[in-house]
Symmetry: C2
Subunit: 259 residues, 2 copies
Amino acid sequence: MAPDDDLFQPVKPVRAYQRVAQQIEERILSGDLPPGSRLPAERELVVRFDVGRSTVREALRVLQTAGLIRSRPGDPLGAEVLGVSPDSLSQALSRLTRSRIASLGELVQFRMVLDAESNRLAARLHTADDLARMRDQIDRMERLGASSTGNLHAFSEADALFHRAVAEASGNSLLGLCARAVHEAVVGVIEEKIAGAADASAWMERSITHHRQVLDAISSGDAPRAARLGREALYEYYADHVEPETRRLLAAAVEDPSD
Amino acid sequence: MAPDDDLFQPVKPVRAYQRVAQQIEERILSGDLPPGSRLPAERELVVRFDVGRSTVREALRVLQTAGLIRSRPGDPLGAEVLGVSPDSLSQALSRLTRSRIASLGELVQFRMVLDAESNRLAARLHTADDLARMRDQIDRMERLGASSTGNLHAFSEADALFHRAVAEASGNSLLGLCARAVHEAVVGVIEEKIAGAADASAWMERSITHHRQVLDAISSGDAPRAARLGREALYEYYADHVEPETRRLLAAAVEDPSD
DNA sequence: GGAAATCAACTGGTCTGACCAGTCGACTGG
DNA sequence: CCAGTCGACTGGTCAGACCAGTTGATTTCC
């Protein structure tokens, strides 16, 4: 191996706040500071790291932006460790979309891929427990839908939990995490545009039917059908809301002849 | 619609630095501050926003962490606007992995899904230009491989450009961006463990062959085959390096009967 | 004795003012 | 015309102060 010019590399200055943030992040990611535990107070960190308070605060700001910690004025226990969350993921995705680097259509198509693959893998690798969790959420959705109080919040929470159960069954948490992040990014982009557009109870009805079909496909191990159902549902739901010029992307993604 | 209790929602305090950061981010994402343009100096922002310098600095720190701006001491022009970059995406993914929320196996499996879907869509939607770009990179890889100088850096750059070309052809930039982010996260996790392990020139040889096959499948519109090739290559390359207990995940992902 | 009001000791959020090392452009001396 | 100097910036850091809010112990009042 010829050590041509890789021997010396440009040295980049490391700011004090970076060293502080990195040390704390290391402790959190390694598990030394589990979620729920508390960081020392800012003024305490100042003496421990031997830096100024502004430096500590910039470090904490970075960690907070990354969703690793949360701080609240007046809390005598110090900042709370949250652990790793997909928040920063969805934030990054939402930025990509809002800056029009990625269109809404791409976002939805991306989620179609993610959901379809989650469903496919879940159909293959699920356990009885996984199926029970999914069934529970569908039952809950049904109760909420029947009561007609229009409690959409609880309904979409059950929906989220269903998807989480599928992601767990798939064995790949990344798929579920990313799907959730994409979903949040989509919501952040179109927001109210959909919110009250359609008749809520009719929509809930359809949603429940769809979830039942997915559960059926997964529990019977029909991977291709589970995947296709995931894609179709998203297409049906979002196709009318994406930019016309990207709709063909969705169409290409939904009509997958391989399954 | 029953406005039960959604009428009033808990009000959450908005910090001064958040308002500052949000205003600047808005200008960047909207295009008012295109990449390459400059922000006013910190002390200038202080008077414009009418806040303290620490507040301005925390706001800039947040934006810098998100990869939206870059600042350098002494620069009389102020912080440089970078525009939206996928850096924060890969950073978020890398954190998920390092915290062992996502295992290496999941990461690789995730990339299998991403690459396979990129290839699949590229096989359907490619243009002649796309194909030319891919061919260019393969040619470049071949020249680099033949010269046997072992310039791995340039080789992997050509590899990255090939994948970017595929992502562009697929019409979904998100797929490529995420794949790249995952790739960086994987590299960050196993790093040298692979670097000099195998014979470099033999590996380049195989890599070139694989890329030729993918290009062939894409240009002939054979979507299922393109997808399968993408999965298999990753499996072949990484299977030995993931944790044994997650290898079955990879196996489940690679042997997709649907294509 | 027990519930309610009070208070002191914190917390994080913000501001001010200062100093440093580095960068850059203009000025200056050859 | 070029090299060196110098001063006016920059961002990075620190110290110290004040504020509003939370908290828990203390005191007050029924």
